[in-house]
């Protein structure tokens, strides 16, 4: 399989963005917390306490405020509580979700273009007679059905734009072949 330039820059940019997000990780002060869970004790119900303290201060005495039990019971109450220090990176989460949604959006737009817009454009440009209708494709709306046609036509001209179109038509042929094997003939990946 020849390595086309199209997908590799995509993968590289994705990796770079993710690593940049890691590097630009501002230790957001909202991103650390000490969480103490205290179970029910006598007639006090269970409670959860969150506080933004450093790791050495993450224990019951610093975090549980206001203390619900009077002085002598504090030790017994605190022994039942469990305190954990947690930190997260909200910048990473934000960047990842934005990257994911933008790639998904681009793919959706491209899919809409390929399935709906392109056949309409081609029909207007080339006329009804030139569309290849393949009748062995059942239950499939074949967005790449006229790839053969365009491939033959574009081979005569040679400039950058047509090279891109040629590569795109070749990709479409490949996908059509794959679709036939998987969905129609069920030979692979049943």
């Amino acid at each position: 399989m020849a390595a086309r330039g199209g997908g590799r820059p995509r993968l590289c940019s994705l990796l770079l963005l993710l690593l940049a997000a890691l590097g630009a990780e501002a230790k957001n002060s909202e991103d650390v917390r000490c969480k103490c869970i205290c179970p029910p004790y006598k007639d006090h119900s269970g409670r959860i306490y969150n506080k933004n303290v450093s790791q050495k201060d993450c224990d019951c005495l610093h975090v549980v405020e206001p203390m619900p039990v009077p002085g002598p019971d504090v030790e017994a109450y605190c022994l039942r509580c469990e305190c954990k220090y947690e930190e997260r990176s909200s910048v990473t989460i934000k960047v990842t979700i934005i990257i994911y949604l933008s790639i998904l959006g681009l793919l959706l737009l491209y899919m809409v273009y390929l399935t709906l817009v392109e056949p309409i454009l081609k029909r207007r440009l080339f006329g009804h007679s030139q569309l290849i209708q393949s009748d062995e494709d059942i239950g499939d709306h074949q967005p790449f059905a006229n790839a053969h046609d365009v491939l033959a036509r574009s081979r005569s001209r040679a400039n950058v734009l047509n090279k891109v179109e040629y590569a795109q038509q070749r990709w479409k042929l490949q996908v059509q072949e794959q679709r036939k094997s998987v969905f129609d003939r069920h030979v692979v990946l049943s």
Partner: protein, 791 residues
Amino acid sequence: MEASADPYSPYDGGGDGIPLRELHKRGTHYTMTNGGSINSSTHLLDLLDEPIPGVGTYDDFHTIDWVREKCKDRERHRRINSRKKESAWEMTKSLYDAWSGWLVVTLTGLASGALAGLIDIAADWMTDLKEGICLSALWFNHEQCCWGSNETTFEERDKCPQWKTWAELIIGQAEGPGSYIMNYIMYIFWALSFAFLAVSLVKVFAPYACGSGIPEIKTILSGFIIRGYLGKWTLMIKTITLVLAVASGLSLGKEGPLVHVACCCGNIFSYLFPKYSTNEAKKREVLSAASAAGVSVAFGAPIGGVLFSLEEVSYYFPLKTLWRSFFAALVAAFVLRSINPFGNSRLVLFYVEYHTPWYLFELLPFILLGVFGGLWGAFFIRANIAWCRRRKSTKFGKYPVLEVIIVAAITAVIAFPNPYTRLNTSELIKELFTDCGPLESSSLCDYRNDMNASKIVDDIPDRPAGTGVYSAIWQLCLALIFKIIMTVFTFGIKVPSGLFIPSMAIGAIAGRIVGIAVEQLAYYHHDWFIFKEWCEVGADCITPGLYAMVGAAACLGGVTRMTVSLVVIVFELTGGLEYIVPLMAAVMTSKWVGDAFGREGIYEAHIRLNGYPFLDAKEEFTHTTLAADVMRPRRSDPPLAVLTQDNMTVEDIENLINETSYNGFPVIMSKESQRLVGFALRRDLTIAIESARKKQEGIVGSSRVCFAQHTPSLPAESPRPLKLRSILDMSPFTVTDHTPMEIVVDIFRKLGLRQCLVTHNGRLLGIITKKDILRHMAQTANQDPASIMFN
């Protein structure tokens, strides 16, 4: 005339160079025609030793020749090493060559870790999108939204004002039947739209991105070629649609697809290095390492990943591949851990915090769980294969998009009312693995506590169950039945779907139910013999979470038939190192029970369903047939299609190629002697003849084709001969016709052959290909031999 060895003779890399002095003794066939006028100039041009581009590559859906690829690699290595001392540049080239393996594996580990982090974060967010949205920060899921809030209570740890459910946003009510129905409708809407998006993207951009991927990767690693299966578009679409498929609430996991994603990364990076891009056997070493990295990031289990690659996925696993897999898994785990977006609470996927010991009598319920796992595995494999076969051959398979939408709709409609199925499956497993301490407040932990008990945090004694536990058990039973049925129909639909997490969920549910049952039995009947010895009153005897863990391992082992790698993965997942013996007992039992019903795991069963040419190394062939019974041609077939060494013309060969569909032709010395010279592949012949017709002058249809080292003497006005010795495999493997098939099958497995020639008394008799062997094995096992589809 005497001459020393011809300085222009091409180096074959395969045949032995016959010194010129010997040639005269062998007859007139080998007379050198150096002296002739026209022939001497053309002789020089012939022997320029240019490799014809395209020779040595393989067609789609064909098997590679391992021996040839390994020879090519050793050749290349020898050449680089021999030039090493010439200059500093050559030295750097040889160092680069030696280190390129580690570079590829590092890049693969980095990419797998990064992509797995992306998938994890995006899947968590989109799963919660079905329920509501975080208004203060749209990109946070439910847990992260309420992270910094002070309004969470002990009972309702998830409620905070920043997180709004859809009912609150649309109709303004948070409680009540209206909001329940609105939440239900929005849940179904989101699930259906995610599923529809996923299947459309798969269908339009990369149809190979559907399914689990592990059966196909197993076949590819054994030497099959599927072009585009590990390509860029497949990688991108698999990553994007995996998130959508998981988020839509379907009963699938993301572990198998993550192995596919990692192998795609490995394949793409191997194209940057000529050592791996031109050699199919070396590429498969990288793919083995990549699959280890895939499992490592899927579970956070690097050592389990290496063992998984060894046991399940790889075909050949030499020591070098072990080191590379180890390194790849390490790098991938490191990258994933350093991304670590959710804080330290999620480093190990299902971390268990209890260290209570297990008792000897508990081996009985553990073995029972193993039996359940084996039975469920056998049932699932039969049911799923039957459904997939029906989908493959009848009209059910004509509407893949509709099928996905229907499955997603049924799953969403039934899953929403039950709180245990509405949960993300990973979170369900985590809740089931966790033991009930004082800090838990779910209904599963609604035991009747003795408030004055002195023991507080860890060793809570066994307690009687409250009503919450009984209702939780009912819901769990319903969830179990639902998941068992839905997973049969979900595995294999046309979106990326994995099997590990659903099987673990089923096992965890069953295990937890058994654990609670044993716990209550021990509490109410603590005077029975078995309990009296180990379980005193007031002691923390039974840990239901441990039963859930053992059940999960048993079910996963029953369906995939993994052993060592599974135990290692589970204890890396949970951190429960004290519990290795129960895990091993349950996994062993489930494997035995499952094997009693059928020897294949789910992946081998899918390989057989698709007819891939996979020669399983685990099966034994024990029949007493001979090579003569399996070889082709049979008695009723036309005779073997052969090429002669120098008697055929270009046109003869082209006609032979056009008339037959064989993948290779043996080359013999002459039709009378039938003595073997070598083997020529169809693809190589076609490419060589086409390129010779275009590039060399004077090659016409009646030119002689010469496979020997020296052209025969031809009359002066005949057209220029075509020398095709460079594409000939001079060392094909041969067996005699009386070789037992056990040995032949062993040879094919151990050497990775594609075909093997059969001789009788030194003369060529027939040929055995891998497809013939697979068909023969299917026939002797009473399966349908026509189901083997590929070469």
